[in-house]
């Protein structure tokens, strides 16, 4: 028996991925943004109406089978092949409100002569714009089955499922009529377009009265494009997303910290040799804890960005910033990846795949690691609180802006600018849409999970390596200076002397900082105080501690939501890890100028192993390797520069 295959084809942003999610109950990444799907993705679906598993393929949005972009090329190839070992059905997804635009592809697909069905998606949205499509009449004229759906709602795809149950059992493998690879000239385009216009005019009616929705959309568009209001709205939206992220994730990071501590102390209570206990408690559980500490920030950031993405806000922001980014050899398309970089560089680099010009992709990859991620903020806030009390916010803001400038200028310095990228100088602006909460949560969770799965292993492994460095030679746990870790730090000191940092603990913390910036402060604390053996904990005490921590986290989340509603203010108090003793101790280890130099180095040097891995996947080993050296060099130069200037300015 040959395999069953469903190919979803349609224009960009007509809701193919949403429809698949709704139909199969799985989660494909969806955005209100053309080009969310940049590669062919497939999943296995076992529907109720048949015993056979069905391969569902989501193809990148295309205007026509005669490709005008790399994603369209993929669609063209997949649709054009004639497999004899598979029975396939083309599912052509059409935006009900855009028949004139979408039916061109439908006619092209129909010429392939393969089994096919047309889905009128977004029927609800079209209706709000006063557009009604007569599905029965369209079916008759096209001589194809036509169903109406609402991709985002829970059972919006029911009609499609019913139709599939009817069509699939009788499906036969059928060869594709090869389409002429010759590019059509405008004359041919016009002829077919005439056919499309007739078809669209005959099957859809548009009420002359512009509905309230239409007016509301217009007003919003005008506001976002307003020369003053536009940028203000944009900055406000971004501030809200980041504030939302950091406020809501903070209680959960603390909670996960408690979970880690309780687990580690339980392990310590086990009757095992001391070294094994330490390996399990600090190496293994420590590593998992570091990975877990990433996830609350990522979850809430993904949630916020998904919201902006799916409402249709982001493409407008892309248009608004296109001119500025173009001065640096980038375009509006790079904006989303750059913004994501402030949360975490790893998903930001993954998002670069949606940039279709390869030279722009490289430039974005150069800039992103300099976007200061959430993990670096922890180091800034601690040092700013110690060395610049009362002026913390200015120090932090300065660092963020510095990162943006260095990143954009670096992007402008590298890579040739090619002139022939004008295909990408058109940005589609989708209608504003309000995404359901359920989908936002699901999507944020999936993205978060994928990150933990992907980068988690690397982070865990490196935590174990650092643990080992601290325990070689064995038996010196209270004197970190004597361990391998301490010796490496000593060796590196001369490099950091010109930026005013001579303390082995500060220099040493930069090494685990390459694993993840989250562990910098923890490593400093460990190397200063020596490795304090963990107190064993009884099972019942641990459970009560966990319960308490959980309640506190819930309570603080509630408080955070209230605080967010009540007003905007940047709260950057240092977190739990930084005890008063640690703060007092660190104050003696360098000067204010040295602290600035150190922070600039933390901002600019290699973000973390996970980012390096993402860079390698995006631009290859050679670029990734070069960029690691480039980042180290830039960080050192600017660290020294800032220290020397600050010293002359009298910060000592």
């Amino acid at each position: 028996m040959s395999k069953l295959e469903l190919l979803f084809v349609g224009l960009p942003n007509v809701g193919k991925s949403s429809l698949i999610n709704s139909l199969t109950g799985s989660v494909l990444k969806v955005g209100n943004w053309s080009g969310t799907t940049v590669e062919k993705r497939s999943l296995q679906w076992k529907p109720e109406f048949t015993q056979e598993p069905i391969t569902v393929v989501d193809l990148p949005g295309s205007y026509s089978l005669h490709a005008t972009s790399p994603e369209e090329e993929i669609t063209r190839q997949v649709v054009g092949e004639s497999p004899t070992d598979r029975r396939r059905l083309l599912v052509n997804v059409v935006d009900s409100g855009q028949l004139e635009r979408d039916l061109y592809l439908t006619l092209e697909l129909k010429e392939l002569g393969q089994p096919m069905l047309v889905v009128l998606n977004l029927a609800d949205e079209a209706e709000k714009f006063g557009i009604k499509v007569d599905a029965a009449s369209l079916a008759e004229r096209l001589d194809l089955p036509v169903v109406s759906t609402v991709g985002v709602s829970r059972d919006g795809a029911a009609a499609l499922a019913t139709q599939l149950a009817l069509s699939l059992p009788s499906l036969e493998p059928s060869p594709s009529t090869p389409f002429s690879s010759e590019e059509p000239d405008l004359k041919q385009l016009e002829n077919r377009m005439r056919e499309v216009m007739e078809l669209s005019a005959a099957t859809s009616t548009c009420s002359a009265e512009p509905g309230r929705t239409k007016l509301w959309h217009r007003r919003l568009d005008h506001a976002l494009l307003h020369p003053f209001l536009g940028p203000i709205l944009f900055v406000l939206a971004m501030l809200l997303v980041f504030r939302f992220t950091f406020l809501l994730s903070d209680p959960w990071i603390t909670f996960l910290g408690t979970v880690q501590e309780v687990l580690a102390r339980w392990v310590t209570a086990l009757p095992l040799p001391a070294l094994v206990n330490s390996f399990l408690a600090e190496g293994v559980i420590g590593g998992l804890g570091t990975v877990a500490a990433f996830s609350p920030v990522l979850f809430f950031l993904y949630f916020g960005m998904s919201f902006l993405e799916r409402t249709g806000f982001l493409p407008r922001i892309a248009v608004g910033t296109d001119r500025v980014l173009r001065s640096f050899g980038l375009s509006g398309r790079s904006l989303v990846p750059l913004l994501l970089g402030f949360g975490c560089n790893v998903p930001a680099l993954a998002a670069c795949r949606t940039i279709d010009s390869s030279s722009e992709r490289i430039r974005a990859a150069i800039a992103i690691p300099f976007m200061s991620c959430g993990a670096r903020l922890a180091v800034y806030s601690l040092f700013a609180a110690i060395f610049f009390p009362g002026r913390e916010a200015w120090v932090v803001l300065g660092l963020y802006l510095g990162g943006i400038v260095v990143g954009l200028v670096s992007a402008a310095l590298f890579g040739k600018r090619s002139q022939s990228e004008s295909v990408h100088s058109v940005i589609e602006l989708p209608p504003f849409r309000l995404p359901p909460l359920r989908i936002l949560v699901k999507q944020a969770w999936t993205r978060c999970y994928r990150f933990v799965q992907g980068a988690g292993r690397m982070v865990c492994l490196t935590v174990v390596v650092v643990w080992a460095m601290l325990h070689i030679p064995h038996g010196m746990q209270t004197q970190v200076e004597q361990s391998l870790y301490g010796r490496v730090s000593q060796l590196a000191i001369p490099i950091f002397r010109p930026m005013g940092v001579e303390d082995p603990h500060l220099v040493g913390a930069l090494i685990p900082g390459i694993v993840a910036k989250e562990v910098v402060i923890g490593s400093m604390a460990t190397s200063i105080s020596g490795l304090v053996p963990l107190e064993p904990l009884s099972l019942s005490d641990g459970i009560s501690q966990l319960g308490e921590a959980g309640l506190t986290a819930l309570e603080e989340t509630g408080g955070a939501i209230l605080a967010m509603v009540s007003g905007l203010h940047l709260d950057i108090s240092p977190n739990e890890e930084s005890t008063p003793e640690l703060m007092a101790d660190l104050a003696t280890r360098t000067t204010a100028a040295g602290a600035l130099g150190y922070l600039v180095f933390i901002l600019l040097y290699t973000p973390c192993v996970a980012t390096v891995a993402a860079l390698r996947d995006l631009v290859g080993w050679r670029w990734a390797g070069f960029l690691v050296f480039y980042q180290l060099a830039v960080a050192w130069v600017f660290g020294v520069l800032v220290y020397q200037i600050a010293r002359l300015a009298g910060f000592s």
């Binding site: 972009s69 405008l186 536009g230 248009v319 509006g332 004008s422 058109v426």
Partner: protein, 78 residues
Amino acid sequence: MKLTELCKGKAAVVDRVSIQAEHAVLARRLFLMGFRPGTRVEMIGRAPLGDPLVVRVNNQGFGLRKELTELIEVSPCE
């Protein structure tokens, strides 16, 4: 007149899209997006720095860089 010159809030009908032969792909894409003789375009506005321009064609918004709107000839509707 050129699409670039169309005032905010005004509508026009496309007369000609003059894109050089070597950019046939771009010409085709614009055609399929709706920028072809006879379609009605409406100027929504400009990005804060005056470029790109935002227009609406068949209920769909587009941000077009100035270098493109320079190539699209339109006649304003009354």
